[in-house]
């Protein structure tokens, strides 16, 4: 199974060139059953990565382009009156899928953004007084433009907190872009993608993540990182939800590295993507300044 996972990673690397680190982290995020937020300038491959992830994991996915006039019902679905049977039928919205690609999520109104809240955390949707469970697994992969771009409304802290990781792809290096341009004439890069996994395998993998061993020493180190954020006033404190997310992501990272135990390195690798958007919701995804400060200043005894 781990081999399959590595194949997924390889093929993703063929679609998004020169971004091994980000691709590993994004896989991490999905293995840890967390939602992923991709933030970047337009044209850097956010949507491509989101597509590729959904595709290669073999999950049913729906894509919603968020706009300022998007209504909550457009996401969750609505009940429609059927004249023939003289009854209301619930017409499920795009949220009822295994992967929801929320493109440019920060262009939607706060009302619509928060409609996603329940779906993301509870993995269920309540409409017309009825609660409907979402399929499993369920991921939200959202993309957004940097905050300073026109026509954006920032995600509130509460919603940011629900994304396990926030990633930024950034510009490709020269060699990767050269290759991109050369290959582009040969057709879409998505052709490299084939379905590598099915949802059952993914579920198994997610279960295995929980089995990765974490020693007390690593948990102590993780807690001292979290504590450090709570004793400072130049950043928001990390919540217990954040520390749980951090631990889960570290485990997934360890599994992707082929180990059955979590090391301090795993924690350090996932920490910036997990913590930065919680420490400072207004920061851009490319900067890791606050989390770097914490990593450098917190003594790692291991």
């Amino acid at each position: 199974m781990l081999a399959q996972l590595h194949q997924v990673e390889q093929s993703l690397n063929q679609v998004i060139l020169g971004k091994q680190q980000q691709i590993r982290l994004s896989l991490c995020c999905l293995l840890a059953e967390g939602h992923l937020l991709l933030e970047d300038l337009p044209g850097l491959g956010k949507t491509t990565l989101a597509h590729a992830l959904a595709n290669s994991l073999g999950l049913s996915y729906r894509r919603v382009q968020f706009t300022s006039d998007l209504l909550p019902a457009d996401l969750t679905g609505m009940s429609i009156y059927d004249v023939r049977s003289q009854q209301f039928h619930f017409q499920p919205g795009p949220v009822f899928s295994q992967v929801l690609l929320a493109d440019e999520i920060n262009r939607a109104s706060p009302k619509t953004q928060s409609a996603l809240l329940e779906a993301m955390e509870e993995r269920q949707v309540s409409t017309d007084g009825e609660t409907r469970p979402l399929p499993s697994p369920f991921f939200v992969i959202a993309t957004q433009n940097p905050l300073f771009h026109a026509g954006t409304s920032a995600l509130p802290e509460s919603q940011l907190d629900r994304f396990l990781m926030r990633l930024s792809l950034g510009f490709p290096d020269r060699a990767a872009e050269h290759k991109l341009l050369v290959d582009d004439s040969k057709g879409s890069r998505l052709q490299f993608l084939t379905q590598q996994l099915d949802s059952d395998t993914l579920k198994n993998l997610q279960k295995q993540v929980s089995a990765v061993k974490v020693s007390d020493a690593v948990i102590d180190y993780l807690l001292s990182l979290v504590d450090a954020s709570r004793n400072r006033n130049d950043m928001l404190p990390l919540s217990p939800r954040a520390s749980k997310a951090l631990l889960r992501a570290s485990r997934a990272h360890a599994m992707l590295a082929g180990r059955d135990f979590t090391s301090a390195d795993d924690v350090q690798q996932v920490f910036p993507s997990v913590a930065e958007h919680r420490l400072d919701p207004r920061s851009s995804a490319a900067s890791h300044s606050l989390s770097q400060i914490l990593l450098e200043q917190t003594d790692c005894p291991l």
Binding site: A217, S263, Q297, T298, C300, L302
Partner: protein, 650 residues
């Protein structure tokens, strides 16, 4: 850092400084206190940014002129008072100029010193407590300058700090050597109390109306019978027909120490006396003192006196023989045989009595018999006597107090050719069984007679003949109810108040015995006792240390180890190189960097890293053992690992 002083801090400085000025008023001339108060009033607008503040030049000129005045008056005040005056001047000027927190340092230190100086003037328990309270308040104000705003915590922390320093205070008190003062501490010019150098008819009557404490006595053995408790304080040898005075015309030699003549016969009596402030030199002793502590010295006629007037409570130890006092100088007999020809009737009586008696003892018996048989009365309020006071007393009024009887008897004896003198002092005292001390007040003042017979001055107390209760049970028993009322002020009749003041006196007694009485001797004794108990103390100390170590060990056991075992292992074997690891870096990352600098050992380091990771992250005991093995085997290699010196240019 510029921190302005709060109004509250300024007010507390004011309060402390004014209290110190009041306490030290003995050292300050009145005009000087007035100047200090005016200076303080000058700063009264307590705003930090007052326009009057910070005129350093003006204050300097004022201080210099005051200093000049003080220098001019140094002759009157003495060096010691001058120093206190200068300290007060500096404190006051500092307070006048004070502006920010930094300024208050000098002020506070000077205040601490001045508060300590207060103890030179006051030793009584109550004032000491007041000074201590002031000290606490100063500490509190000092602390408040730097503390945060929570009141309760401040007090708590201050209390803790004081508790922590308490053992130091106590050990300083117990162990610091009692040094002689570097300069003479001047005595205050206050009223002389106690028996005066002259004994007028009526002077003792006035004295016994006072309830003031004269001294306390502690006996090494049991209390001697009351009839023996004649505390000699003054010997009056000159009689001018009306009053007796201490003879000062003859400079008497003062032997350093007198050896007891026949100490094999008499029983000696050792006792300690704590004399109250009297501003006189004369002290109190029973019978013939033979051993003295260094603070007192023998005086004429086997009296005891202090080296300088008693301006502080004085404690001294004496050993006496309760016998007749021998002759001090050869002149003494002649000195005490002088008569004045003012009392013809007395002269005739003396002649008559001498003819009847065969010896001096017989004469004394005759006189006793006369006082007993004829209607003589003992009274606190005798009628006034005319020019020939002795005649008037013996033949007309026949009513008198102890001094009258003593005076008359002495004159009578002198007329009969027997050397005699009047001795002033105290008789009896109130014995406190529980506290084991004798309290002697001014009301125990007494006068009696000494006549020369059998190679010594024999005591004869005519009062004991007329009013034996006075000697056996105290003054109150010998007086009528009216006279007792006269002695007792109204407030003293309240029993509760009486009880309270008595308890306070007892407390004061313990204070003077344990705190004021703690001198070189006591200190020496303490050392001796410590030495004697050395083994026990060593045992206790070892026990204490053992308990502490045990407690520390258990404490250590209870706490989980700070680091996991592999971490400790790696730290031990990698030693100094590990100091180069940045705080946030984990060990494996560091190893990777270390490999780059130590290519030769790369394999070893890789192996160690792998084992370490398994041991610390996967809790793999096998790996831990292997890791330890590897580290042990390659300890010398690991100690030689290279780490490039940091480039200074970077």
């Amino acid at each position: 850092m510029l921190v302005l002083l709060s109004r509250q801090a300024l007010l507390s400085f004011y309060a402390i400084l004014i209290a110190v000025i009041v306490l030290l008023h003995q050292a300050l001339p009145l005009w000087y206190s007035a100047i200090l108060v005016v200076l303080l009033l000058y700063r009264w607008p307590l705003q930090q940014s007052s326009s009057k503040v910070n005129k350093l030049k003006r204050i300097n000129i004022i201080a210099a002129s005051i200093l000049l005045l003080l220098l001019i008056s140094i002759k009157q005040s003495g060096v010691f008072h001058f120093m206190i005056q200068i300290l007060l001047l500096s404190a006051t000027c500092r307070l006048v100029l004070i502006h920010q927190r930094h300024d208050s340092h000098q002020l506070l230190w000077v205040l601490y010193f001045l508060l300590a100086c207060c103890f030179i003037f006051y030793q009584s328990m109550l004032v000491s407590l007041l000074i201590l309270a002031l000290l606490m308040f100063t500490l509190y104000s000092h602390y408040q300058l730097y503390a945060s705003k929570q009141h309760k915590i401040q007090l708590l922390q201050l209390g803790k700090a004081i508790l922590l320093t308490l053992p130091i205070w106590i050990s300083m008190f117990l162990l610091f050597p009692r040094l002689q003062p570097l300069w003479r501490i001047p005595t205050a010019e206050t009223a002389v109390t106690g028996l005066a150098d002259s004994l007028d008819p009526g002077s003792i009557e006035n004295l016994v109306q006072s309830d003031k404490l004269a001294f306390r006595a502690i006996f090494e053995d049991s209390l001697p019978p009351r009839q023996q408790l004649y505390w000699r304080a003054k010997v009056y040898e000159d009689f001018d027909g009306r009053s007796w005075t201490v003879n000062q015309r003859f400079e008497r030699r003062q032997p350093a120490s007198r050896q007891p003549v026949n100490n094999n016969v008499e029983r000696t009596l050792s006792y300690q006396i704590i004399a109250e402030v009297s501003n006189q030199r004369s002290l109190f002793a029973l019978g013939m003192p033979v051993q003295y502590t260094s603070v007192v010295r023998p005086a004429s006629a086997y009296l005891v006196e202090a080296r300088r007037p008693v301006s502080q409570r004085l404690s001294y130890q004496l050993t006496s023989i309760l016998s007749a006092v021998p002759e001090d100088i050869a002149l003494e007999q002649r000195l005490n045989s002088r008569t004045v020809s003012a009392n013809p009737k007395t002269k005739a009586l003396a002649r008559e009595l001498t003819s009847k008696a065969s010896s001096t003892a017989g004469l004394i018996d005759q006189i006793s018999e006369m006082f007993r048989q004829q209607p003589y009365f003992y009274s606190l309020n005798p009628p006034g006597l005319g020019e020939n006071s002795i005649d008037a007393f013996l033949f007309d009024s026949r009513t008198g107090f102890c001094s009258h009887y003593a005076s008359a008897t002495a004159v009578l004896l002198r007329e009969a050719g027997v050397p005699a003198r009047v001795v002033g002092g105290y008789q009896g005292g109130v014995w406190h069984e529980e506290q084991q001390y004798l309290e002697v007040r001014q009301r125990e003042a007494h006068a009696w007679v000494e006549y020369y017979d059998n190679n010594g001055w024999q005591r004869f107390d005519p009062t004991a003949v007329i009013a034996p209760e006075r000697v056996l049970a105290g003054l109150d028993a010998a007086l009528s109810a009216d006279e007792q009322d006269q002695l007792q002020a109204n407030w003293r009749r309240l029993s509760a108040f009486n009880y309270l003041s008595q308890q306070l006196l007892h407390l004061d007694y313990y204070w003077s015995v344990w705190v004021l009485g703690f001198d070189d001797n006591q200190q020496h004794n303490l050392w001796q006792q410590l030495k004697a108990a050395g083994k026990l103390l060593a045992l206790l100390g070892t026990l204490l240390i053992t308990v502490l170590i045990l407690w520390w060990y258990l404490h250590l056991q209870r706490q989980p180890a700070e680091f996991a075992a592999p971490v400790l292992l790696v730290r031990r074997y990698f030693g100094k190189v590990l100091a180069n690891k940045p705080a946030g870096q984990h060990f494996s990352q560091f190893i990777a960097e270390l490999k780059a600098h130590n290519l030769a050992d790369a394999n070893l380091l890789g192996k160690i890293d792998m084992l370490y990771q398994r041991a610390v992250y996967a809790d793999d005991q096998q790996a831990l053992l292997q890791l330890e093995q590897h580290l042990k085997q390659n300890a010398s290699t690991l100690a030689r690992l290279n780490w490039p010196e940091k480039q200074t240019s970077a």
